[in-house]
């Protein structure tokens, strides 16, 4: 059965319905993801749900290699994309799936979408990236925190004291100027997230607002997953369609 994944069966992984919910918070660096993940975790736990939070590059298998590669900048684009995929695969199989089987809610601070966008702006084709991550489990909900580049810029400077090398896409050599590179890079990423919005059923949330306001919107999207309709009409994510080869870039 491939119904729980985006099309590729995972050998040795239970195929039936898993009890837990998989909620993904996506968005650019500075979109308020981490704050929202913390608020959402807190709220879900108070509501009585067991929550396991996970992010990118936290697995034990290859995270050291990724750090080393980033320091030396020695790996080619394809190799680096595969390294991230292996890291994600490790987390999926050793952390996310077991937690879902145990009935926990898995709260993912970024997921395959960021990895795909990063790989594509570095030269991978959309088709290749989509198939590469075909083994990923379909989330029950993907929230995308959408924030204007100017907001991202200020939050990024506030967070690092300067612009981060990787979040500015300096490795792409778009510009020697950090400030300019940041905008060019974020613009390219945004273009990738745009086509994913429809294909992967993103629920857009205005991330230009204050954290409490963002959180209220996210709660409205999350609550129906647990059978509680808080107020108004909140759409449950429809049955996701598998990415067809015809929908290529």
């Amino acid at each position: 059965m491939t119904d729980r994944t985006y099309g590729t069966r995972l050998p040795g992984i239970p195929t039936g319905e898993l009890a837990g919910k998989l909620i993904v918070i996506e968005g650019a660096d500075g979109s308020g993801r981490s704050t929202e993940v913390a608020l959402l975790k807190e709220w879900l736990e108070i509501e009585g749900h067991a929550v396991v939070d996970t992010g990118l590059r936290r697995s034990t298998l290859v995270s050291e290699e990724i750090d080393r590669a980033k320091q030396g900048h020695t790996l080619g684009a394809t190799t680096l994309a595969l390294l991230y995929a292996a890291d994600f695969g490790d987390q999926l199989e050793n952390k996310i799936v077991p937690a879902l089987s145990a009935g926990s809610t898995v709260l993912a601070d970024r997921y395959i979408y960021t990895l795909m966008a990063r790989a594509i702006v570095r030269g991978a084709s959309r088709d290749w990236a989509r198939h590469l991550y075909g083994f990923a489990f379909r989330p029950d909900l993907v929230v995308f925190l959408d924030a204007r580049p100017e907001i991202l810029l200020h939050r990024s400077i506030g967070k690092y004291g300067s612009l981060d090398y990787w979040e500015s896409g300096m490795d792409l050599c778009l510009s020697r100027d950090f400030f300019e590179s940041f905008f060019l890079y974020q613009d390219r990423l945004a273009r990738e997230f745009e086509w994913m919005t429809r294909e992967y059923d993103f629920h857009m949330v205005d991330g230009n607002r204050r954290p409490e306001e963002v959180h209220t919107s996210v709660r409205e999207l999350v609550a129906p997953l647990y059978g509680a309709v808080k107020k108004g009409r909140v759409r449950r994510p429809g049955p996701p369609t598998p990415p067809g080869p015809s929908a290529s870039a």
Binding site: T79, H131, F135
Partner: protein
């Protein structure tokens, strides 16, 4: 940019000769001999082997110790390794007009990952960045012959090569035969679908080498010689 003599298979000015087969099928011996001969004939040759690099083997060791590796991550680890070698050592000489002799290529991943239960279409997509070779030799030999050769040369059978992680058998030799049997079956299948050149590798070294030389001569017709050069990568 070198744009002369583009290969009809992949468009690069170099040529790509691939050697595939089970461990102990004799492909490495043959690849080394062919590389020597090509260089002696006056071609620029770049020979490269795909064995586990330090990056991958250290990760695999760690993963094995912690019981973290699954067929999917195992497959991805090898893909990382191949991509790194490809970007670093296969593509540049291919673009520079060398004859690149590859001891193992993406087919190794296709057969091994299939034997581990990975989705073949998924594996193929991952490796889609690897160009189609000008010729891919498959050294066909029964599994028991490779096992005898291994035992005769006192080579240790490694855990993953025997597919011990799949729990096919408690016994190393038994597991090896079963797992390599699966791989052979997959090789036999893709040799046809991928139009590989099948070489009967139960024979002696010399007739096989003679056959290989006769097979590559037509491919190299009109292919320029340079200052003869053999690089073993």
């Amino acid at each position: 940019m070198i744009r002369e003599n583009p290969s009809p298979k992949h468009g690069y000015p170099g040529r790509l000769f691939v050697f595939e087969g089970l461990d102990g099928s004799g492909k490495s011996t043959q690849a080394a001999l062919l590389g020597k001969w090509l260089a002696a004939t006056g071609y620029r040759v770049f020979r490269t082997e795909w064995n586990s690099s330090e990056l991958v083997s250290s990760t695999i060791r760690r993963g094995k110790k912690k019981g973290l590796l699954t067929p999917t991550t195992f497959s991805l680890m090898h893909a990382i390794d191949f991509a790194d070698r490809f970007e670093r050592t296969i593509l540049p000489p291919l673009r520079a007009g060398y004859i690149v002799v590859c001891d193992r290529y993406s087919y190794t991943a296709f057969v091994r990952d299939a034997a581990r239960g990975c989705d073949p279409a998924w594996v193929r997509t991952i490796y889609s960045f690897a160009p189609t070779p000008d010729i891919a030799f498959y050294f066909r030999v029964p599994v028991h012959v490779t096992l005898q050769r291994k035992i005769a040369s006192r080579l240790k059978i490694n855990y993953y090569e025997a597919g011990m992680d799949l729990g096919l058998s408690e016994d190393l030799h038994d597991s090896y035969e079963r797992f390599q049997g699966r791989i052979k079956k997959e090789y036999d299948r893709i040799a046809v679908t991928d139009k590989m050149t099948i070489v009967d590798s139960t024979r002696a070294v010399e007739p096989i080498q003679a056959e290989l030389r006769s097979k590559v001569r037509p491919i190299l017709q009109g292919f320029p010689k340079g200052e003869a050069l053999l690089h073993d990568g």
